[in-house]
Amino acid sequence: MRRRGQIVIIATLVIAILILSVAAMLYESATSYQRIRHEYISGLLDNINREFDKVLTYILASITQKYDGNTEIDAFQGDVYLKFDYWIKFLLRAFSSYDIQMDFTYPVLDLSWNSSNAYSSISARLAINMTRLGFYGWNRTSVILLNATILSVSSNSYLEINLTVNKEYGIPDEKLSEQSFTILYFNGSQWNEADILEFYNYGGGKYTIDVSRDLAGKPLEIWITDERGIVVELYYS
């Protein structure tokens, strides 16, 4: 009787271990599928997110490089629609196998130039569902901005222009060099380019540009092109 009891105990133990190991394997299979899908979708959305910002940046750079500060912005809106529409159609084509559903607004272009505080900006919204992957509700509004402000202009041995340059969300633009700035002055009949005599980058988006003090009192235009190719124009008189 004692030995029979041993067999029953061992058999029970074996069955219990078998059931536990099968349960552990099933759990592992179920969670690893979810982890794999999560990894795939997060990679995909991270990619779309970055490219969404990039396409808006390219559109803004392209428009601001053509804009002279006087033309109506509406003249460029058609180009904005065409470029963005092309990108949206590409997304639909590229991810059609995932049954991608999109809701979006066309980019809104806003260029406010010709003053001591000027900016170039573009914004659009994109929402995505990928029904075949079981993913719903990704929604993002992207804003791309280049904002510049003249802090002060003072005349000593040079005409010293202090300004600050920011990107979207108040991020200071610290990568600008002397070549990023073009300064024009009005000599009474036409606009001429001024030589930059000294250039200082203090970090935090703050810059000082020194030009000849002979330009004091003359109207100035400061054209800034950032590392993304976006242009903004400041005016000071």
């Binding site: 041993q6 061992i10 690893s32 392209s62 590229a94």
Partner: protein
């Protein structure tokens, strides 16, 4: 006596099963993937996206594929293969295909994808190696860049296939 013998045999069989099962379960629970040599599907996805993301960061793909006039560089496929080879672990095989998005016809609403690489960009000659390989993933990646010469947006669709070789 006869019954005792049967019981002993059964005990021995059960004990053996118990030991084998314990070893198998223990091995399954203790086995940890080594990121340098073995990659699970999840890790392969993570690795693939991270590799493409660093490859495309700061428009790195532009200088590989296009020349200064934004024409397709000759032999860019070989250069890209060298770059990817330097990024992937030794037991991972890859095949990358790049498609360029264009309008189907001039003024058409439809997008056509044209394969950009004329030769395969892969570290294996035979495609069948992927079928025989262990973990196998296909990553879809989009890449947008700006052609200042034509004032146009270039959009590329990248298909990256990764697999781990068994027993390496």
């Amino acid at each position: 006596m006869k019954r005792e013998g049967v019981a002993r045999i059964l005990e021995a069989v059960f004990s053996a099963v118990l030991i084998i099962e314990a070893v198998a379960v223990g091995y399954m629970l203790l086995k940890t993937p080594n990121p340098g040599t073995t990659k699970s599907t999840e890790e392969l996805y993570k690795f693939g996206y991270s590799m493409l993301s660093s490859l495309c960061a700061n428009n790195g793909l532009d200088s590989l594929i296009f020349d200064s006039n934004w024409s397709i560089r000759r032999g860019w496929e070989g250069d890209l293969k060298v770059v990817i080879n330097s990024l992937i672990p030794p037991n991972v095989i890859f095949n990358i295909s790049i498609y360029n998005a264009t309008h189907d016809e001039e003024g058409s609403r439809f997008i056509k994808l044209v394969k950009l690489n004329r030769v395969p960009i892969s570290n294996v000659v035979d495609e069948e190696v992927f079928i025989k390989a262990g973990e196998n993933v296909l990553i879809t990646y989009i890449y947008t860049t700006y052609n200042p010469v034509k004032d146009d947006i270039i959009i590329l669709l990248i298909y990256l296939r990764l697999a781990t070789l068994r027993g390496v």
